[in-house]
Amino acid sequence: MSAILDLVLGVVTSIGGFVEAGSISTAAQAGSEFGFQLLWAIAVATVMLAMLVEMSGRLAAVSRRSLAAAVRERFGIHFQMVPLTAELIIDVLLLAAEIGGVAIAVKLLTAVGFQWWVLPIGLLVWLVLWTLGFGPIEYGIGLLGLVTLCFVYSAWRLQPAIGDIGAAFVPSLPTHDSTRYAYLAVSIVGATVSPYLLNFYAAGSVEEKLTEKELWVNRSTAYLGMCFGGVVSMGVLVTSAMVLGPRHIIVDSYEQAALMFVPVFQQWAVPLFAAALGVGCFGAAVEITLNSGYVCSQVFGWSWGANKPRRDAARFTSAFTIVLIMSVALALLGFDPLRLTLLSVALTVVIMPAVVLPFLVLMNDEKYVKQHTSTAIGNGLLAALTVAGAIMAIVVIPLELLGG
């Protein structure tokens, strides 16, 4: 019974925690500029994420190690410097973008400039991490995040043509702006398959003491939770495509993205969009901050855990506090949160092979996962998609930046 409850709670919280600054902004832009045409990118990214998250849980359940710890042991510090440095840089950028996303959400509700909210939001993130254990953080964020289901409701109420949606799951070439199309496809993958999620999920499984006997719970939670979560992202894209696209509204700010709710929610459009954006980004900000503490502690062998009194894990607490301070400082510098988000998610795809390829090696090493190794098809698919995504990102990011 407890396993079933864990499964339901896991799936529900995965759905609630799925969308954040990256997924909302990339899906909104993709929908407004290319209609339903980039739905396939969300589908591919969601399947990749579900596979990787399932692997993270499996690694943690069988080896009792998180991803960062296992990489240090298997590949040594020389190799790990690359993914560690890249992940921490992306964490700081993405965290600043998420804090910016929450600040914009509060601005939409209060009309007070977003930079005034950056510091209080940073403090609130820290207070949540200072006072709560892993369970309340994970489940609280996930349950509050269910407000993001309003994207799915909105898409459903707009009654899109099912045939058009189905056709968009087959990748096709755009009729205009192919560089922008490729950049958005890469950004959707980067926004969905965030490296922080993989280590966060593995560390969470260690915290929750997931065992080998519960691997089926892990598998079901990962696939059901992530695939239903992907539907929320698709809801953003479909709503944007049906509301903003025909009106030629280009999403170059979150304020404009909020207009997508007007036809369905009318006077509640802006408050509801602000709630979905704010809760989604706040949840991601808490998870990224916590993950930065996890990664540092696991690589260097410090005492760690959100369930431990903070004084018993002083270096872990200090590490996540320092990363949070750096991100708050970056957000305070006044970068446009939407641009920062898009840059962070595109860069994520560039570093993805350094995170995913060693992960695949670990998942085929019986010293870590015993007989629960990955299948050849899964390995091949993930390796091919990761490398192809990175090559595409290296090509299109400079083109987009120069063109933009």
Partner: protein, 118 residues
């Protein structure tokens, strides 16, 4: 035992199971007419950084000196004090009594002063 595969970078815990760090470096003893023998394991950010690049090692050592946490670091643990090597390395020491705990203890003093830390 393959020292690099089975010992280097493994988690080190004290006799009570408390995390001390990881095996950041190995000290080998050269013997005449016989293969080198493992003499000790070392824990500490400076020796770890030194493995990545000598210059980085010097920077980290200077940083430790600057913050006044360099006394007795890196921590060198003789092989005789190693109790077991499994998926972690257990040593016959108490974390709090070693120099591996210097930074943790310094930070804990600050953190304890914030309400809700326990």
């Amino acid at each position: 035992m393959d020292l690099v595969r089975d010992l280097l970078d493994k988690r080190v815990v004290d006799r009570n199971g408390r995390e001390m760090g990881r095996v950041d470096s190995l000290i080998l003893e050269a013997r005449e007419g016989a293969p080198p023998r493992l003499a000790a394991i070392e824990l500490g950010p400076a020796v770890l950084a030194n493995r990545v690049h000598r210059l980085l090692g010097r920077w980290v050592a200077a940083l430790e000196h600057g913050f006044g946490v360099d006394e007795g670091r890196p921590l060198r643990i003789p092989v005789a004090a190693v109790l077991e090597i499994q998926d972690h390395v257990k040593v016959d020491l108490a974390f709090g009594e070693t120099s591996a705990a210097t930074v943790e203890q310094r930070l804990r003093r600050w953190i304890r002063s914030i309400p809700g830390s326990s």
